[in-house]
């Protein structure tokens, strides 16, 4: 995968700018953790007994983006790239025949779509999903996405360090 051009979120600014800034920062951080590794390394369970892999994390976050921006916020009947909630285990683990090029493309496409969707809504706006567990505001979605990315990037930090010794924010 390619190294993305990651930008620091603004140190002073309005709520929206800051939330968008941090979310994009973490989308790029996950890609940074994957950049320069072979497909085989990306598919390796580097911190056993954990079954996590870097490729599985990118697939998982692709689904998470689809769930919150497309399914929850818009209330859309979403065609999940990796099968959705019923396939949670598969999106993490079914990485054997998977190529990093495809995973990266899907991830970037879905993130672009999330950005377009979010822009058209107010932070106080309530998600249209009929599922009561998804009746959240866009503000909640932003904060949840940031903390979920950050937590998985913590996993990615230790996976990457195991694979080739590389560390860093």
């Amino acid at each position: 995968m390619e190294k993305p051009d990651r930008r620091e979120p603004p140190f002073v600014g309005d709520e929206r700018e800051l939330l968008e800034g941090f979310l994009d920062y973490y989308r790029d951080t996950l890609l940074l953790k994957c950049a320069g590794l072979s497909d085989e390394q990306l598919r390796t369970r580097g911190v056993e007994p954990s079954t996590l892999t870097l490729l599985g994390l990118v697939r998982h976050m692709t689904s998470v983006e689809q769930r919150w921006f497309q399914q929850a916020l818009l209330g859309r009947d979403v065609k999940f790239v990796y099968g959705g909630a019923r396939n949670r285990e598969k999106e993490f683990h079914d990485v054997l025949g998977e190529s990093s090029g495809r995973v990266e493309r899907n991830f970037l496409d879905v993130c672009s779509e999330s950005r377009i969707i979010a822009r058209a809504h107010d932070l106080e706006e309530l998600a249209r999903s009929s599922n009561p567990d998804e009746r959240v505001t866009l503000r909640w979605i932003y904060l949840h996405m940031i903390e979920e990315y950050a937590r998985h990037c913590g996993h990615a930090d230790l996976l990457r360090e195991r694979l080739d010794g590389e560390t860093g924010d």
């Binding site: 140190f11 911190v47 954990s50 996590l52 932070l123 904060l143 996993h155 360090e161």
Partner: protein
């Protein structure tokens, strides 16, 4: 002595900005304690995912320092010196694990969280502060979101450290 499992509250699905920031911060403070709960000092001090030198105890000390640094020192301008600071090692919070017993580490973590909560409660999110870092000026909003993402990232480390110690997993 081991750390007790704290009560953790899921953030509400809606609410004003400050309330949501405070709720996510509390969620991650509690998560770090949950990841540490029930283990011995020895287990907490084990670098269980080598070559990383991170430990659960080091993370707990580090986040105490991070809260003190951003909320008290940078934002509120208080002249606090963290109990984990050392002239010899800038990373003493993460490394010098024998310098404080577990009950002190836990109490200090909880006290510092209370102090941060009070600062957030009584301040405006747009309020500015001077940082000695490269950024020079930051606002409280940035400090809150930064703390949430820093906690969450270290809780990701904590997930794998814990799983490698006793197999325990979960949010």
């Amino acid at each position: 002595m081991s750390i007790d499992t704290p009560a953790r509250i899921e953030p509400d699905f809606h609410g004003p900005e400050k309330q949501q920031l405070a709720a996510w911060l509390d969620y991650h403070r509690a998560t770090l304690l949950i990841k540490c709960a029930g283990l011995t000092f020895q287990q907490l001090a084990t670098a269980s995912v080598p070559p990383s030198t991170l430990t659960l105890l080091g993370l707990l000390r580090h986040m105490t320092f991070v809260e003190e640094y951003w909320f008290q020192r940078v934002f509120a301008g208080d002249d606090v010196i963290s109990i984990y600071e050392s002239r010899d090692d800038p990373d003493a919070d993460l490394n010098d694990l024998q310098s404080a017993p577990l009950e002190d580490v836990e109490r200090h973590f909880l006290d510092v969280g209370d102090a941060s909560r009070e600062i957030v409660r009584t301040s405006d999110l747009d309020a500015l502060a001077r940082s000695s870092g490269p950024s020079t000026t930051i606002d409280l909003r940035w400090v809150c979101v930064h703390l949430i993402e820093e906690y969450a990232r270290h809780n990701g480390h904590a997930d794998l450290l814990r799983e490698c110690i006793d197999g325990a997993t979960g949010d």
